[in-house]
Amino acid sequence: MFNAKAKAEILKDLIDVTSPLVNEVKFNVSEKGINLRAVDPAHVAMVDLTIEKDAFDEFKADEMELGVDMDKFAGIMRLASSGDSISLTYDDKANRLVIQIGNLVRKMALIDTAGMPDPKMPTLELPGKVVVKASELIQGVRASEAISDHLAISMNKDNFELFAEGDTDTVNLSLSKDMLEGLTSNGDCKSLFSIDYLSNMIKPVKSSEPLTIHLGNDNPTRVEFAIANKKGHVTYLLAPRIESE
């Protein structure tokens, strides 16, 4: 059994986080809420997303897996305006998700979850950790987007920095410890990342929310932030690019 009711924004958050990476997702539903984990086909980025039961206005569920075509789901959710209350019910006879938006009932066929991967999250020792206001990172990534396809994120015990270099232009965002909500770093950390992936990652982030970035040297970054009115959590892993010779 799965029966839930939520504001459209909650479901749109889920779609915004997931759909840039994958077309098909397995929702792991339990009495605690919804969890999903997805890796993009090139294995460059992974997202682990949890929306707690409390984020929903109503939530009743047994443990089950729902295979969702994200393009289709996103298309359906575009029919909803923000503030709309959306009801989701699983129809186990037809293996469909019944989505009710106002007076509209849309039944969406689900995908067979057999054979859908359960990606493992790699264990990473990342010595640097910074808590930064999302708006700062969003601004930095937006600025870098215009001049390059990759940027460097670095930190030491006093400072967090984002740097991008194009053919003629550069972007630099430097935040000292007192401008940050938190910074711990054993020594210097620096890794390069693709801006395409970063900009997809920050799209669903609310600009006032804090964002936690874990960083190493030429290692993946782990970025964590809250969604669904802080009743949801996203962990995003992004593999680095290798420093050019």
């Binding site: 090139a42 294995h43 992974m46 995908i111 067979d112 790699p122 593999a239 680095p240």
Partner: protein, 259 residues
Amino acid sequence: MTQKKNVVEIIQYPSASEAKSFIEKHHLKKPEKTILQIIGSCTVDYRGRAKSVLDWGERFIIIKPDGNLMVHQPVLREPINWQPAGSTTEFRVDDELFIVYSRHRKPSEKMIISFKEIFSIVICELKDTAQLKIVGMESDVVNHIIKDPSCVEDGLRIHKQEKQVDSGMIDLFAYDKSHTPVIIEVKRSLATISNVHQLRMYVNDMRHESESANVRGILCAPRIPDMIKNLLLDYNLEWKKVEHEIVLPDDKQKTLTDF
């Protein structure tokens, strides 16, 4: 990056005769190497497989070294009119008008573009041998199998790509190691019920055609749900999970599996 010099020649607002001598100087000496763009106000008359007349308008003409000619209006992706590869182009001045006359034999097609005003002519020599690389297409999976038929089955020999039968086009036609004909249907993503029926029809067609009762059908896709597998079993068909290669943006991008 160092910019190579003298690759582009530009003239703005030439008269008809200035346009003609500019094109003679920079394009007609080596039309097989230079791309010519003319922007201006013109009419286009076409006689060939059909007849068409395009009244005065401001548009963009591109003539490529292979003879392709395209007339582009300010909007739309496709040209409003064009001449195929192998066309030859002449340039004339008639009264105050500058005339571009493009001709193609077999089928015979003529196009006359008359400019009353030219805003700009750009002539450039471009080097580009790169080919578009698209991933995630069905053909990626097909090519993957052609390159390495053993990913479907040991001893498989691909005989033909795209073989026509009554009910459609077979993706790959092969023989297995005991010389039994094998029909391979390829999907780039999730296999569906209609793929099963498609394969079933191909196999039936092939059995009639070759009068051999023994024809195998294999559905190849990156993901095949259990329901589809059961359906395939019902029809005595087979399946094989075949993934297409995922290409990273470039070799500097690492993947999470590296860690």
